[in-house]
C-alpha cells in the first residue's frame, strides 16, 4: 500500500494499491501531535488492503487539511526551495553527527547498497 499526497505522481507510478490524502507534502500520515487524526488516517489506509480489489486503484481518503485551501498555491512560486545537493550527510543537529561518529549504532546503521562502513562515506555517488 502506498500512501500519497501527490495524486498525479502516484497515478504516473501506478502502484498496485494506494490511498490519497489531500494534505501539503510532508504530512502524508497526518498533522503533528493530532493522534486521533493520525489513527483515523491509518485505519482508512490499512482497511484499503482488504477493500481494494483492482490493481492500480487509488482510494481517496475523506480528510481535509483546512477549510481554506490557500496552501495549494503556496508552492507554485518560481524559486527553487530545495537544499543544495551534497554528498555529505545532512545531520539534523551537530549532536547527531557526534553520535554517529561514535559509531554506537554501527550494527544498526546498516546501509545496504552503497555504503562503505570503513570510510563512513558513500562508496559511490
Amino acid at each position: 500500500m502506498t500512501m500519497s499526497s501527490a495524486l498525479d505522481i502516484t497515478r504516473a507510478g501506478n502502484p498496485p494499491r494506494s490511498v490519497f490524502i489531500d494534505f501539503p507534502l510532508g504530512h502524508t500520515a497526518g498533522k503533528p501531535f493530532d493522534r486521533p487524526l493520525q489513527r483515523e488516517i491509518m485505519i482508512e489506509t490499512l482497511s484499503a488492503f482488504e477493500t481494494i480489489q483492482t490493481p492500480g486503484s487509488i482510494k481517496i481518503l475523506p480528510f481535509e487539511w483546512s477549510a481554506d485551501h490557500s496552501w495549494k498555491h503556496a508552492g507554485a512560486g518560481e524559486s527553487d526551495n530545495r537544499t543544495e545537493r551534497s554528498a555529505e550527510p545532512q545531520y539534523q543537529t551537530e549532536d547527531d553527527k557526534t553520535a554517529a561518529s561514535e559509531g554506537k549504532l554501527a550494527e544498526e546503521c546498516i546501509v545496504c547498497s552503497n555504503w562503505s562502513a570503513d570510510s563512513a562515506r558513500p562508496s559511490t555517488v
Binding site: 482488504e50 490493481p55 545531520y91
Partner: protein, 162 residues
C-alpha cells in the same frame, strides 16, 4: 471552498522550465501493477513500514542530498525522541516536531495494541526520496528493501512517501 488536488507534475515542469533546468524525467509505469492477494486478515498480518522522508535514528549516519540510495533499518520499538530527518526537498518542520507525520510508527504501534493489525516487522525501512535516477531505485534500493521484507516475514508493506 474545495479545490482539486495540486498538479505537481505540471507545476514542477513549469517551474523547471522557468528556472532553465532540464525537464525532469517523470516515471510513467504503463504496465499493469504487480498484484498479490492478501493471505491473512489484517488482524493477523505483520506490517512493514517503509518511508522515504529521510528518517534516521540518532547514532546512525544521516542521509546526504545527492542521489542517496542507502537504506536505514530502524527498530520498530524505537523511542520517538531518537528519530531525526534529513531531506532536501520537503519542509521538515512538522516532521521534526512529530515524526509520525511522515513515519507513523506510534500510530502503527497503537493499532497493534488495539489488535487492528497483527504486528510489525522488527525494523522499519527508511531512505531519502528525491533520487533522480529511477534506474538506481529499481536496481539498488528496491531489491534491498524487498530482500529485507522477506527476511523479516512481512505480510504487508506500507509505503509512506513525502
Amino acid at each position: 471552498m474545495s479545490e482539486p488536488p495540486v498538479e505537481y507534475i505540471k507545476s514542477i515542469t513549469r517551474q523547471y522550465s522557468k528556472l532553465g533546468y532540464k525537464p525532469y524525467g517523470w516515471v510513467y509505469n504503463t504496465d499493469a501493477p504487480p498484484w498479490q492477494p492478501l493471505r491473512k486478515p489484517l488482524a493477523q498480518s505483520r506490517v512493514a513500514l517503509i518511508a522515504s522522508g529521510g528518517i534516521y535514528r540518532r547514532g546512525q549516519v544521516a542521509f546526504h542530498t545527492r542521489d542517496d540510495t542507502s537504506l536505514r533499518l530502524i527498530p520498530t520499538d524505537v523511542r520517538m525522541d531518537e528519530l531525526r530527518t534529513a531531506h532536501f526537498a520537503y519542509d521538515q518542520t512538522d516532521a521534526r516536531k512529530d515524526p509520525n507525520v511522515v513515519f507513523p510508527i506510534d500510530t502503527l504501534r497503537g493499532l497493534v495494541q488495539e489488535g487492528f493489525i497483527g504486528g510489525l516487522t522488527e525494523h522499519a525501512f527508511t531512505f531519502m526520496g528525491g533520487i533522480y535516477s529511477s534506474r538506481r531505485v529499481a536496481e539498488e534500493l528496491a531489491p534491498a528493501i524487498a530482500a529485507r521484507l522477506k527476511d523479516e516475514h512481512a505480510d504487508l508493506a506500507l509505503l509512506v512517501p513525502v
